[in-house]
Point group: C3
Chain length 406, copies 3
């Protein structure tokens, strides 16, 4: 009974030569919202199984939240348009494979979040996704910037509902499923940063990617920052799990992380009192700048790789939060323009880039679920290939001396 | 026409031996929301009249707010799931008997409240309930805590929508109606305090109760505080109304309240310029710790009693806000773990308890509408029984010297 | 198919002698919300074409926003009940004639706005209307008041959803269409300012008006402030556009505006780096206090006049924000009780009036679209008539020396 409206949408969306089915689910400018919606391969006469479904959430601080669940036959990925097109989690065979168990259980409507609360830590009231975009007006730890303005933790995008959501499905193999969502950071006289997020996956694949385009719609140059805060807990993270990343250098974020520097590649099991150790890496890439970080379990037969390009995202943060399960047992692989320091400490490091009036910046991040030891080995080999014979130099001194800043 | 879905819910909820009808109205984890809903005694084949109805509110800052109206044949009690399962008011014979007339007229969706606004007084934008839970992460007047964080007035729970709402009705006399609602205070790295609130009443009764269980879901010990801010205006509060509470000691909250200490038990009529006088009591209980506070009108033929246990809630605040009707003519009977001072002033008083990892704390508060002089006298006799021959010692010096703190 | 419910509403609303059709669209106290709704002249058996339609917005931060679109046959005016009954824009022949292109594209639900963010500049996250009421608890630039409270930019009313919305249509010529909306600023112990906004227009007219009544529902005198922030961009604003206002004196808001003082009446085209120049005028009125400000395009064949009364609104701010199109090319004609300085700087100027307990203040502002050179000339003649032979004295020194305040 869904077929008729779908065909109608198809015809409207693709006059002339039909080469993709396009479904506009939300469009603030056109005042469109389709409500409950689902499309499957059968609706489009495609044999390879997949579905894309828009869901409404209820209860607690979920009121008004919408999710988009993409099942490509191999993975079930949940996007959250209401929370900046973030990726909530990824399931395989009905079980969560990418993502983590945050103390925050609900998918929180930004209407209930006050980012500046707790001295700029309000973002923590909603943090539970596998992938959060931390940006773009600013990113990093909260603090009062040089101009006297409090910059709240990790910026505003993730707590901004998408203005548009559009699903496109190619009508030719590999029948790529694309979800575009525009998320706007618009404040009169302050920011006109508009990000067209794009998520893509093909039916049957163990890989998906985001391809984002940040555009400065203002007539003035602006600063921007972005961290792709990609978070993984169980089942991949466990005692003896290992992170491998092509890099020239690693240093601890702060004094506390110094003691874990030597063992930065391996993970403890859930450890009471661990809190978090954070490391700043200088990633290296292949000739095109492409690079990879790989996290795998102890046995080396389950993992995830995060691929990105160091020309787009020149730095990498590894966030090791192997505290207890209840506290949030999780590690972050976080390629970005910037580390997690407050913006004012990153300007002197050259890590607060600028974007010209009308200019655009592209960011691509690819996530691959490594399903067996063969896939894990292949990913590790790719990292080794990029790393070559260069060592990852361990530098004991943090990039920013937080004991001297205030 | 409501019967069919109700029966379906019943069958689903109680496979096997049916001994209660259970209705899940909201469940964030299961993504359930029943929408408009009502059950009556007739739906369940019970003769004694009652009804429970879920309502959606509209207009102004009420957008998205849900209430649950329980009519037990004697009282009509309105709970507000969207506002932390608070009790809005209680009517008898169609007229408000418990509750008050706040300047705040709407039942405000927390989405419109910024708790940290006005230096932490944002809670006042929504305060109009008969019973507000002030807690549990902190309670009391706003102020910057020793760690530099602003603690906003009376905590966050009341401005947190319930994650679950479940109505249970026993199928045996006295056909107890129970409403459970889970309200979560969850912030990554900051709090995992989950309160399962429970409201219960029996058909025909003039009494209802809350039985709350606070659980610290974290793996670390945490502080907690709670005040059951129970507020009564007309028709019980009037010139000559009287409060009686079993206590060993009373002292003024601040210098301003000193002048009313002597007459703490009696109330003025609406009095311009009165503002508020607040008193800190040390309640005493019977052998089990149970105690009672009674408020009654001048004639002594209408009142309310608040029963609680001093092992759970060791202190009592009496809030006398007998200012003008427009300003909010109201008194608060507020058993709690703590007084209304900012948290940092209560730690030295030993009034900021801790809750262990995984531990639970229970709180029971019983409200009884006293409908005639017989019931008032009976309640007063119960207080006298607990008080015995011990006097309520009047101490002129406030527990905290607010003139010396900053 | 809309007729039946409309007639029902009509009969209910006007028992006895029918002389107006009254439609209650929203009423928080009565818990009424009609949902999607529309009425046209045909529904009421009136020949002159008009329609009033309630719309629901979707997408991004528009979630939950309602607009009311009034088409009087000549103009299409969009009111926003969810945003304090502001006027979003006015179209003629399908094109925007009054209003402007803000960097903020969506009509933002106040639930997504934190007024105190960015040191009190959160209001800028939603600013895009043709007419914003800046008040009434306070108005002006953000800053910490003498009592230590941050007063956020331009007060709270515009980010407060209307508690009531009522449409009335006279059944006799000229069939005046009236939209009343009550917007409440209610905070326990802080404010009980209730504004009954009223918008009125007649079918076929090029003029519409607001008639607002602010009532202090408290039992105590209170301060209040209001600026009718009326904003116009293209097509009226352009290089060579001109503002004319009956005034005795003009001075720059700050040092930066000094250099534009001489040319205050004329406008530049979109100018990179211009930012904003603001001027404080002392308006003069006719014997009744009525006065007029006129903005017209370079050719003098298109414009708008803003009529008000200096007994109600004694001061006038002219906001020239002729920066680039993307930045927001716009000018504000802003009659008010106050200028745009923070409240604490306006008290010494006598521009923070008080409103007694229970007292009401009325404010009337009339907007006229000037459709040709004849109408522009007529409006300018009206201004000249009021101005008479008195010059507009140019005073170089700002009323407040912002370099000396902190």
């Amino acid at each position: 009974m869904k077929i008729k409206p779908l065909v109608a949408a198809l015809l409207i969306a693709t006059p002339g030569l039909v080469n993709a089915a396009e479904f506009v689910l939300t469009d603030a400018a056109a005042n469109i919202d389709v409500g409950a919606w689902k499309v499957t391969n059968k609706d489009l006469g495609i044999q390879q199984p997949f579905s894309v479904e828009k869901r409404q959430l209820y209860g607690g601080k979920q009121m008004g939240v919408e999710t988009l669940v993409i099942n490509n036959g191999e993975l079930e990925i949940t996007l959250v348009p209401t929370r900046g097109m973030g990726i909530f989690n990824v399931k395989k065979d009905g079980k969560r494979i990418l993502g983590w168990d945050s103390p925050v259980k609900e998918i929180v409507n930004p209407a209930f979040i006050d980012l500046e609360s707790r001295n700029g830590l309000g973002w923590l009231d909603g943090f539970n996704e596998m992938m959060v975009r931390c940006g773009y007006e600013w990113t990093g730890h909260p603090g009062v910037d040089d101009n006297g303005q409090l910059l709240s933790l990790h910026g505003r995008l993730q707590n901004t509902p998408a203005s548009t959501v559009k699903v496109t499905i190619d009508d030719q193999p590999p029948y790529t499923i694309t979800v575009e969502g525009e998320v706007s950071e618009r404040t009169f006289k302050k920011a006109e940063l508009v990000t067209l997020t794009s998520f893509s996956v093909t039916p049957g694949s163990n890989q998906f990617a985001v391809h984002d385009t940040l555009t400065n719609k203002a007539d003035y140059e602006d600063e921007y920052q972005i961290i792709y805060h990609s978070n993984f807990g169980r089942p991949i993270l466990e005692k003896g799990a290992k992170i491998t990343a092509a890099a020239s250098e690693i240093s601890p974020f702060n004094d506390y992380a110094k003691k874990g520097l030597k063992d930065w590649q391996t993970y403890l099991g859930p450890t009471k009192g661990y809190d978090e150790m954070v490391y700043n890496l200088k990633p290296i890439g292949d000739k095109q700048g492409n690079t990879l970080a790989v996290l795998h379990n102890q046995a080396g037969n389950l993992g995830v790789s995060v691929g990105y390009n160091i020309k787009q995202l020149p730095v990498l943060t590894i966030w090791k939060n192997t505290d207890t399960l209840q506290q949030g047992y999780v590690t972050g692989i976080e390629p970005g323009t910037s580390y997690a320091y407050n913006t004012k400490y990153q300007r002197p490091l050259g890590l607060v880039p600028k974007i010209g009036a009308g200019a655009s910046k592209h960011f691509d991040v690819t996530y691959t679920v490594l399903r067996n030891s063969g896939e894990v080995k292949q990913a590790l080999a790719a990292v080794a290939d990029i790393q070559g014979k260069r060592p990852v130099k361990q530098v004991k001194k943090p990039l920013v001396d937080l004991s001297k800043v205030h």
